[in-house]
């Protein structure tokens, strides 16, 4: 609701520009925003998962079960469930209403990454260390179905992604990506509508592919590499419409690069952290990018800074860019006939008033969605 009243140019900006907040709750290895962007899940190196309320920047829920570092997190579209994978070889499905694990699967090796199938709560894909990626159905609590997804030459499955958000509810087929490039491939990121993907490989290059309709053909669109500094990229994320892409960088640069994906041009370098950044996540609705620091494990947040318009405080003033010559209007100092004025006011008051129907979209064009609200508990004490 507030966006409609803010500076439209600031609201329309495609990516954040300023470091606004740092959060420190243990050593964070993974960060993930929920779909609405009002909660941030942070996985810690000791296996704890912390849910942070974006408005207060305070922890709202702490989930403890994993005993080793969290490797990935995945929110359900409704915001009530969270899937987590850890180096303790376990994948947990959490219900945030109770804060308990409702399903879990133990694998034979550590897990690089897991991702929920958006339309099915109990289905997910996982990438395992030194093994094929798997598709898992946990509907049956005692007997989870695990299907191996065959890949041609198994080296290591680094990352899986499930494609398609809410609009592809029926097609629950997960798209898993594995390409045997010349160099060691480390990471992929698939855009949420499943149209584009980016592959981060060990040769210090990001390759952006367009995915064909049958999920079989990939057409390379862009290649990103820093020829001067020879930077290796850590983690990559698309913006909501895949028009932009951000990546954290390995080594001493401490920056996040943002590219425009149509032309492949670098548009912004986010600075401000004093350490190397590992995991990044893009909060589309709040236009905010979060990244974890390697040395301190802190979470850095970049957002759009809205300028205060002082004319909002004094509505009879108007903000102008430069001085303009004053011209008296025809009726500016006329004594207006009060009867006529009240007639006009009466006419204005005939307008229709609807106090029920809510706006469907916010000023950034995202539909308003109802997302699960985690209950505030005051008895837990401070954490």
């Amino acid at each position: 609701m507030n966006l409609a009243l803010l500076d439209p140019f600031a609201v329309a900006s495609d990516f954040p520009e300023t470091l606004t907040e740092t959060l420190s709750y243990g050593y964070s290895t993974v960060v993930k925003f929920n779909r609405k962007g009002d909660y941030l899940a942070s996985g810690l190196v000791d296996g704890t998962i912390v849910i942070v309320d974006k408005e207060t920047n305070n922890t709202i829920l702490i989930l403890r079960d994993h005993v080793r570092a969290i490797t990935s997190l995945s929110w359900s579209p409704c915001g009530r469930y969270l899937l987590s994978s850890s180096k303790d070889w376990k994948v947990n499905l959490w219900d945030l209403k109770t804060g308990r694990v409702i399903r879990f699967v133990v694998f034979d090796s550590p897990i690089w990454n897991c991702m929920m199938v958006p339309s099915h709560l109990y289905q997910f894909c996982a990438a395992l260390v030194d093994d094929d990626p798997v598709f898992v159905d946990m509907e049956d609590e005692k007997n989870a179905k695990i299907i191996r997804l065959r890949t041609e030459s198994i080296v290591d499955s680094a990352q899986v992604s499930t494609g398609g958000e809410s609009d592809e509810r029926e097609s629950s087929v997960p798209t898993y990506k594995k390409r045997n490039l010349k160099k060691h491939m480390t990471l992929t990121c698939v855009h949420r509508h499943g149209e584009r993907m980016v592959v981060n490989s060990g040769d210090k290059t990001l390759r952006q592919y367009k995915i064909g309709l049958d999920f079989c053909e990939f057409e390379m669109e862009q290649k990103y590499q820093d020829v001067v500094n020879k930077i290796q990229y850590n983690s990559v994320k698309f913006s909501h419409d895949s028009d932009y892409m951000c990546a954290s960088t390995l080594g001493s640069t401490h920056d996040i690069y943002i590219w425009e994906t149509k032309m492949g041009s670098l548009v912004k370098i986010l600075e401000g952290s004093k350490e190397e950044l590992i995991e990044v996540d893009w909060n589309y609705r709040c236009c905010c990018i979060a990244a974890t620091g390697m040395d301190s494990g802190m979470i850095y947040l970049w957002s759009v800074v809205m300028p205060q318009k002082w004319s909002n405080l004094a509505p009879d003033f108007e903000e102008i860019e430069e001085n303009i010559d004053y011209e008296e209007k025809e009726d500016e100092f006329d004594l207006i006939d009060s009867d006529r004025d009240s007639d006009r006011i009466d006419a204005e008051e005939q307008s229709d008033v609807d106090v029920i129907t809510r706006e469907e979209k916010d000023a950034r064009g995202f539909p308003f969605i109802d997302s699960f609200v985690i209950e505030t508990r005051l008895e837990d004490g401070h954490e």
Binding site: M1, N2, L3, A4, L5, L6, D53, E55, T56, N58, I60, M306, Q308, N312, L313, A314, P315, D316, D341, I345, E348, E349, S351, D352, V353, D354, V355, I356, T357, R358, E359, F368, V373, I374, E375, T376, L378, E379, H382
Partner: protein, 301 residues
């Protein structure tokens, strides 16, 4: 003097009623039997406002002793005491998640509190007189405030910036604003001024779209800050407010006509608060001298 009551609120789960009084206590009643459950003591001065958290587990109260207390409804203990205001605290609201509490005070500031930590996150200082009332939009993004300086201001909760200032220039009203609230879709602002009228603002256009007046040219309120609210139950589209003559008046939002008048008190006594539960299926009113009434919409509308 001991019995003067400032407000009544229904809990969101429909179990409880809470009344706040100048005798420094909050009284908790069951809504259906009207039984007094508990009298909560702790404040050292009179209490101006109480509000339930969205999960109905907690109750926040603000007092002339400069503090806000958060109570556990089930066992009546104080969980948090929020201190920072430097004068009487007049009005409170929770956001829909229950994570944030906003308060308006006579020290001219609005404060935004992190409920869990019990800390003040932001102070909004833009008014130049006591703040009588605050409200928050359903999505928790906009704060509206009414002040005795005659202004209604809208703030961005996230940044704390002032988004709009509403002044009724055409009618020349700079009377103190005694009440503000958002309708269910938060596209308008309802305000009550001590010139005795209610105004409905279209804040995007900076103007008053409806003005509601009491019958016979009498004013609604000139002295007390009386609560007003929207009744949107079923097909009804009404605005309701108590007046200083002990009546509860219902206006049609669209036509501004008075649809109904209820007797909130048997004597001439201001109706301090009308609280609307489930969009108006139940309406609860309380008068300054403590006459508490519960109305069922199906019976009266």
């Amino acid at each position: 003097m001991k019995l003067l009551v400032s407000t009544v609120k229904v809990s969101p789960d429909g179990k409880w009623l809470a009344t706040a009084s100048a005798d420094k206590t909050i009284k908790l009643w069951t809504l259906h039997q009207g039984k007094l459950v508990r009298s909560m003591k702790g404040h050292t001065e009179g209490i101006s406002d109480v509000v339930f958290s969205p999960n109905s587990k907690y109750l926040a109260s603000c007092s002339d002793d400069l503090t806000i207390r958060i109570w556990d409804v089930v066992n009546g203990t104080t969980l948090k005491i929020l201190k920072n205001h430097t004068y009487h605290v007049n009005s409170l609201k929770f956001n829909y998640k229950g994570t944030i509490l906003i308060s308006g005070s006579s020290d001219e500031n609005i404060r935004i509190w992190d409920v869990k930590r019990g800390k003040c996150l932001k102070t909004l200082s833009a008014h130049s007189d006591a703040i009588s009332c605050v409200d928050i939009s359903f999505d928790g993004s906009i704060v509206v405030s009414g002040s005795y300086d005659g202004l209604v201001r809208l703030f961005d909760l996230d940044t704390g910036q002032c988004l709009k200032t509403l002044i009724d220039e055409e009618r020349g009203s700079s009377f103190p604003v005694s009440h503000v609230s958002f309708p269910p879709n938060a596209k308008y602002v309802l305000s009550s001024s001590l010139d005795g009228h209610l105004r409905l603002w279209d804040y995007m256009k900076n103007r008053v779209v409806k003005m509601y007046k009491n019958s016979d040219g009498e004013s609604i309120a000139e002295k007390y800050c009386l609560g007003a609210d929207f009744v949107t139950y079923g097909e009804h589209r009404l605005v309701c407010s108590g007046d200083e003559q002990g009546r509860i008046v219902f206006w049609d939002i669209q036509s501004k006509e008075i649809k109904m008048v209820l007797k909130g008190s048997d004597i001439i006594d201001p109706i301090m608060q009308v609280d609307v539960f489930k969009h108006g299926e139940l309406i609860v009113s309380v008068s300054l001298h403590g006459e508490l009434k519960v109305w069922q919409a199906t019976d009266v509308l």
